[in-house]
Structures are given as C-alpha cells and as structure tokens.
Symmetry: C2
C-alpha cells in the first residue's frame, strides 16, 4: 500500500470535534488546490486587535521538485498585488516569514435531519499553518504564476499573451508559504439522527429528511465585446464540461458514502 | 433618496486596491447572509504564532430590533460547538470579547483576458471586524438558532422537531459578534485589458476573451434511507428552484454590468 504522509499534530491544528479529521497530505492538498478562493489570515499586530483575512488565489506546488505529487510535502503559492498589506508585512517580517493560516472550504450538500441540532453540511475543509515570504527568484515566480493561472482554467497560460513583461512582473507578488502543519475535515453521507427522534412517529411522519447536493457550476462562456476569436476554444469548453460533471458527481456520490449498495441513489 | 449607512474607515478595514470597495452596510450584510460558510479568524496567542481560521455558519441580525433591515446596524451570530477552541477563548476573554475577523467570498465568474495579469474573478467578498461573546440569554440563543437554521434552507426550522431540548441547548453555543467595522469588494463586468495588448492583432486574433459565469447549484434532493415523508415538501423544492435561478441570474447578469444595452448577452 506504500506510505501515507501526514502532517504532525500540534495544538494549533488538532481537530477536537467528532467530525472525521484528516492529517493526510494528499487529502488536504487536494482540497486547497480545488478551491477557487483561499482565505488567508494574518495578524497585523498592535495597535490593531483584530486578525485580518484576505481572499486570495493559490496552489500547492514544489518548484524544486515540480513532479512532486499531492501526497508529498509542498509549498503553498499565493498570488497578490505589490501594494497590499499582507505583502508589506511579509517583506518586513523577520526570521522565518509572516505567520499565516490558510483555509479552504467547499459545501457539498445540505444535511436535512429531524432536528435543527443534527442539521449539517456535507463539506470538505482544510487549513494550513505556515510562514509566508515573498518569492524573489524570477524563474520561481514565473513558474508559480503559470501554476496559479492554470489552476483557474486548465491550460489557460499558454493560450494567452505570455511571458509577462517587466511591468507585469513587478506589479505581481507571489508569496511562498512554508507549511508547518495542516488538517482537514471531510463530512459525507446522509443524515444522522438520534434514537429518541427516529423512534418518534409524530416526528418521522412529518419531517422530510435527506440531502440536497450542492456544487459549483460553470455557465456558458460569454465573449467579451472585444473578443475576435469566433469559436470558444475546445480547452475552455472541455474544462467547463469536465468541471460541471466532476463537481456534480462529487456532491451526489458523497450522499451515498457509507450506505449499503441497495440504498444508494 | 434617504440615508445610506456605511462602516467607518479605519486602517484595519480600508481597502487599498483599485477594486471597487464598499463600506455600505446593506451590501456587506447581504454578502455575509448569502454565504453558506463564513471564515472566522482569531488569534490563539502565545506560544502559538499563527492566527486560526474556522469555517462557521452565521447570519447578521438584531435580537433587540428583529425587524431591522440589512442596511441597519446588526450583530453577526455564529453557530458552534461547546467544546471548540473559539468558544473557550470567547468565554475566557476579558473586556469587550474575543477580537475576530469574519470573511465571506463568492466567485461569480472567471475573467479570461488577453494576459495572465489581467485575469480575474467576478466576485463578492466582505469582511467584518468585531468582538465575539457567548450568548447566555436563552431567548436570544433560541432566536439566533432559528435565524441560522433558516439561513441554510428557508423556513426549515418550523418543519423540524422543535424546540431543542435541554441537552441540545447546552451542546450548542451561539457567539454574538459586535461589529466594529467592515468592508466589501464587488467585481463585476467583463474583461479589462491594456491598450498595448488590445491593439496587437497577433494577440487578439489568437486569444479568446470573455467570462465564464460561476454559481452555486443545488441538485435534486436525495431522501435519507429512513425518511418516511413520501413527497419532497414544497418549501424545499421551491427553495431549490429559487436559489438556482437567483444564483445563475446573478452570475450571468454580472457579466453585463457596465456594458451598453446592445452589447449585453
């Protein structure tokens, strides 16, 4: 079966709830990489008492070992603008870099059970803790920009005007987060109710229980007023078709997790 | 036209990018309330150097003035479990409460432009800063639990076994966040490219530009193996139909924002 790499459990990332937790690199990195938006938190520090959260685009990857799989140690590359506060803090940070927390969450279904307290979502969520520094090596920066662009739409980079010119390179900042630990939670399956409610006919005869699958859908591409390419290219239409099928399949399949075959939908 | 309430601009919430920023209460509260998941950040403090992020379910509301509109000052109510770390920190916090940042982000479209640097998303994002305390008043707690349950699926609360019993009330914690400031960003419209690329026929004849609408879709409800209600109730089917239409419409309409009528799709 081979090895399975897991993140170390520390106070900061140990999940203390009864939702199934995972420390598996492959599971955590997959959730991060399939999320369109990452929420990145950092502490601006005094006098500001509040942590900050920025929505950012990012991907896991290894510049030194580009062929590394999702089950191997990877860095998290984040895309940003040169003037943003997180970039200034990362530049000024001493030592290992700016301590950040990165979170990704996807809702896969509404769990509608007998009581409000047993309501839930099917979902996948992951967090990473690590130290963010600015990427200064031009080759690594260009590599990360391509990685991130292609995560938005597969193969898009080579179908645009590249490489970026000097002005574009200097207005873009890539942060590299050296990951210290991480954890994930995956909830799938159907409803879960308590015996006291399941055995109460007054309740079960009245309350519909089940799951409403939820998934991200991509609509028909809308050309810009200035677009001159008559036909939507195949790499775009097939990306949309693939994602729509994959997202919907995941949400519907998740409902059946743990059910005997004859009860699956 | 009447008043428009806005959050005060402070260092912590001032948006310093060229994306259109809003401090309008109605816009910010609408983004928070229409998001299935909120990302809530807090600082565990030494020796942990990292901020923490929890995905949580929450809603804006006013217990004292339940009829308050989204354009009026509201608190943010968050649902959690009694044993979670944020609840322990909120209980132990002195003074105003635990300083938190709450973020919500929705992707509405992929902006595919001529160069990777001008790629973007159509999106709506909002952040709030505030102080979290545990709700101890039972009436306010029950009110918030209903508010949050009905935000997952409209009108669900009254169609389940309610009220929660004592054990359910004590295992649930509701945090109330007194909001100090907030801000939002809304990006809509089509692609935006630079003149140097738009005037380059080699580029414009080769690169398809436009927007791929993105929206959250709800699938057909899947009854649980133990469900005894034969027909999916109308309040569920109409919620699904309404949400699917509203989400798709928003994403498609957002593309046309700012375009002259004859160029709209």
């Amino acid at each position: 079966m081979g090895r399975t790499l897991t993140y170390p459990k520390r106070d900061a990332n140990t999940v203390n709830r009864n939702t199934p937790a995972t420390y598996d690199l492959n599971a955590i990195h997959s959730i991060i990489n399939s999320s369109q938006v990452l929420h990145v938190s950092f502490s601006p520090g005094p006098p500001d008492p509040f942590p900050a959260i920025l929505p950012m685009i990012g991907q896991m990857g290894s510049f030194d070992y580009p062929s590394a799989g999702l089950d191997e140690p990877l860095d998290c590359y984040l895309h940003g603008y040169v003037s943003s506060r997180i970039m200034n803090l990362a530049r000024k940070s001493e030592g290992d870099g700016l301590p950040v927390c990165i979170a990704a969450s996807r809702v896969d279904g509404l769990i509608l059970s007998l009581t409000p307290n047993s309501h839930s979502y099917n979902y996948r969520s992951a967090i990473l803790h690590g130290y963010a520094t600015q990427v200064t090596d031009e080759a690594e920066k260009l590599w990360a920009m391509k990685l991130i662009t292609n995560s938005v739409l597969a193969d898009r980079w080579d179908h645009t005007r590249v490489p970026p010119d000097n002005a574009e390179m200097s207005s873009t900042v890539i942060l590299k987060v050296k990951v210290v630990d991480g954890s994930g939670k995956i909830r799938d399956g159907s409803v879960s109710d308590e015996r006291k409610d399941k055995s109460n006919d007054d309740v079960t005869n009245r309350v519909w229980t089940g799951v409403v699958p939820v998934y991200e859908a991509f609509g028909d591409p809308v050309p810009s007023p200035e677009n001159k390419v008559a036909k939507v290219p195949e790499y775009i239409t097939s990306f949309i078709a693939d994602m729509n099928e994959r997202n919907r399949d995941y949400a519907v399949t998740a409902v059946n997790a743990g059910l005997p075959a004859e009860e699956q939908h």
